[in-house]
């Protein structure tokens, strides 16, 4: 290092600290700005009709997005059932048989899969479900979201199972419990809260996904009537409405964004409180 006079070093320090604080301020300001804008612009669209009515025809005022909200709930629910079932099982394998070669490979690929472009998953599901069935469908939408959830739940399940002390497993096995019994009654039980947290976070993540639904669930102005037909959903509706020339639709797009943002944030805050409580009760038991 070159020797610099203390004054210069203090100057550089002051500059760097100001820069860092400024960067933090700029970054946080943008993010606060976005959230504030969503609330400010979205709140105007929120009324009773918004939650209970079908969309009004193009150009007409009024109506609501009730069908889209219902569709998003249906699609997300089916995705969650599929994603949780496979994800928890795969995560259990990674957590319980963690040193096998397969576990290493699956772990590595799952980590990549978590950040894989969701729109490509949409294309894949289009090819395997929409084309053979001859129709865009809510089912295809649910499958694409399930595929996005799968690696997320796999990885969080594994991490939660890893936190279960080996001693606990060994005591159960020493008492003569079969392996599945031990996992079911001991490991799952002590990792329960963490696994639930992971699942809620995965649901939060996919409930805001748009890209994979564009060519699977598509969208619809009607109530959902069957899983094998195009199904209205909130995110694709937001996309279509935002791109439309009608001011009323654009306002509704903001309203939809507000709903999605609030739900996703609530799920995230909820899991934080859960984890916090879990941490407290655990340490309470220990001492």
């Amino acid at each position: 290092m070159r020797a610099r006079s203390p004054a210069v070093r203090k100057g550089i320090n002051l500059l760097a600290l100001t820069g860092s604080a400024a960067a933090a301020f700029i970054g946080l300001a943008f993010l606060v700005w976005i959230i504030a804008e969503v609330f400010y612009r979205g709140i105007g669209a929120i009324n009773w009709d918004f939650f209970t009515q079908l969309p009004a025809p193009p150009g007409e005022e009024g109506g609501g997005l009730a069908n889209a909200m219902l569709g998003t709930v249906i699609i997300t629910a089916i995705a969650t059932v599929l994603g949780v079932l496979l994800g928890v099982l795969a995560g259990t394998y990674l957590g319980e048989f963690r040193h096998t070669r397969i576990a290493d490979v699956v772990r590595f690929l799952s980590n990549i899969f978590v950040s894989a472009p969701s729109i490509v998953i949409g294309i894949f599901v289009y090819a395997i479900l929409v084309v053979p069935l001859g129709n865009f469908s809510g089912l295809a939408g649910a499958v694409s979201l399930a595929i996005i959830m799968l690696p997320v739940i796999t990885r969080t399940t594994e991490e939660m199972l890893r936190l279960v002390p080996t001693g606990l497993r060994e005591s159960a096995l020493a008492l003569g419990a079969p392996y599945w019994h031990m996992v079911w009654h001991v490991v799952y039980r002590s990792a329960r809260t963490g696994m639930l947290t992971g699942i809620i976070l995965a649901v939060a993540r996919v409930s805001g996904e748009t890209a994979p639904l564009l060519f699977t669930a598509l969208n619809s102005p009607y109530w959902p009537t069957g899983l094998l037909e195009p199904m209205a959903n909130l995110t694709v509706t937001i996309f279509n409405y935002a791109m439309s020339p009608y001011e009323d639709w654009q306002t509704k797009a903001w309203g939809g964004s507000l709903i999605i943002a609030v739900i996703v944030l609530l799920m995230n805050i909820g899991t934080r409180t859960m984890v916090h409580r879990m941490g407290r009760s655990k340490s309470g038991e220990g001492h």
């Binding site: 550089i12 894989a116 969701s118 409930s207 996309f239 943002a261």
Partner: protein
């Protein structure tokens, strides 16, 4: 005794079922990935055989005459992601350092939680904000100003429309900022207190501690985290599609409308009228999948290599 024998059998059977179902699910993930690549290749095959390598280097994208080349969208994908990283990383270093060293102690967890919550906000919301709030501001104020003062650089010349590459890069940057910031914060936090205190004890200033202790100590984790952010920016659809302008053109100007692979897919996939068009779009998807797979794979390998022993990936 019969009874216990049966129970033992049932138990063994259940143990086998347990092992098979968990192993099966794990293998299912591998199979799914392989199947995904296979399906994409099959659907892209007409385009792959017709255009060959030319697909990757041609800028022609003309559905009417059936000529498809991916270069404009590949360049658009790379440039928008690069812009996002160049803007987001310096800001994220600032945010992370602020969160770990500068912010008043009681506020640190509050700011930290806020950043993590923002990382969970769906990308379509960033897209909405980009379209309705940022794009008009860019078109009316930022781009004219840039052109007036830096217009001699080709990057900053051309008609300021608000919608285009620069706006897309900024929206992407804001979208990945919370993610990169929280990764960097975790990395900075791992610097042992003793190391920092030794440096301070030798008379180092705060910025020297950051530059010579905290950053070198966490360099590996930081690079891995930035690559993960890059992977996300490359594959992002909604934050970009709203604001990039959807034009299949290459231009030096960052103000002009452009395209990424993801935005092209979002805009054109349901409109693809013939098989070759659809096939070319699927090939674009395949290219995007491979690019992100390589970037994320490198990040993951790098992180695993540098992870401290005993702690998983």
């Amino acid at each position: 005794m019969d009874n216990s024998g049966q129970a033992g059998n049932a138990s063994q059977w259940r143990d086998a079922l347990f092992k098979i179902s968990t192993l099966g699910s794990a293998i299912f993930i591998l199979g799914l990935l392989a199947f995904m690549v296979l399906v994409l290749v099959i659907y892209a095959w007409p385009s792959i055989t017709k255009f060959g390598f030319k697909f990757l280097v041609s800028t022609e994208w003309n559905p009417v005459v059936g000529e498809f080349g991916a270069l404009t969208t590949i360049v658009g994908t790379l440039v928008s992601a690069a812009l996002a990283i160049m803007i987001a990383v310096p800001l994220a270093i600032g945010v992370a350092f602020f969160l770990t060293e500068l912010a008043p102690l009681p506020l640190r967890p509050v700011f930290g939680t806020a950043i993590e919550l923002l990382a969970a906000v769906p990308s379509i919301i960033y897209g909405m904000w980009g379209l309705f709030t940022l794009a008009p501001l860019m078109g009316d104020y930022v781009e004219p100003w840039l052109e007036e003062h830096f217009g001699f650089i080709p990057l900053f010349s051309g008609p300021p429309m608000g919608i285009g590459m620069l706006t897309a890069g900024i929206v992407l940057a804001i979208m990945i900022l919370p993610f990169i910031s929280s990764v960097l914060r975790d990395v900075f936090k791992m610097t042992p207190q003793v190391l920092k205190e030794s440096a301070y004890g030798l008379g180092a200033t705060t910025s020297e501690v950051l530059w010579h202790v905290v950053i070198p100590y966490g360099r590996r984790g930081a690079v891995g985290g930035i690559f993960l952010g890059l992977g996300r920016a490359l594959g992002e659809t909604m934050a970009v599609t709203f604001v990039i302008g959807n034009a299949h053109e290459l231009s030096w100007s960052l103000f002009s409308p452009a395209n990424t692979i993801a935005s092209t897919l979002a805009n054109e996939f349901t409109e693809a009228s013939d098989d070759l068009y659809l096939s070319a779009l699927v090939e674009l998807g395949l290219v995007l999948f491979l690019i992100t797979f390589v970037v994320l794979g490198v990040a993951e390998w790098w992180l695993q290599k540098s992870a401290p022993k005993g702690k998983g990936a």
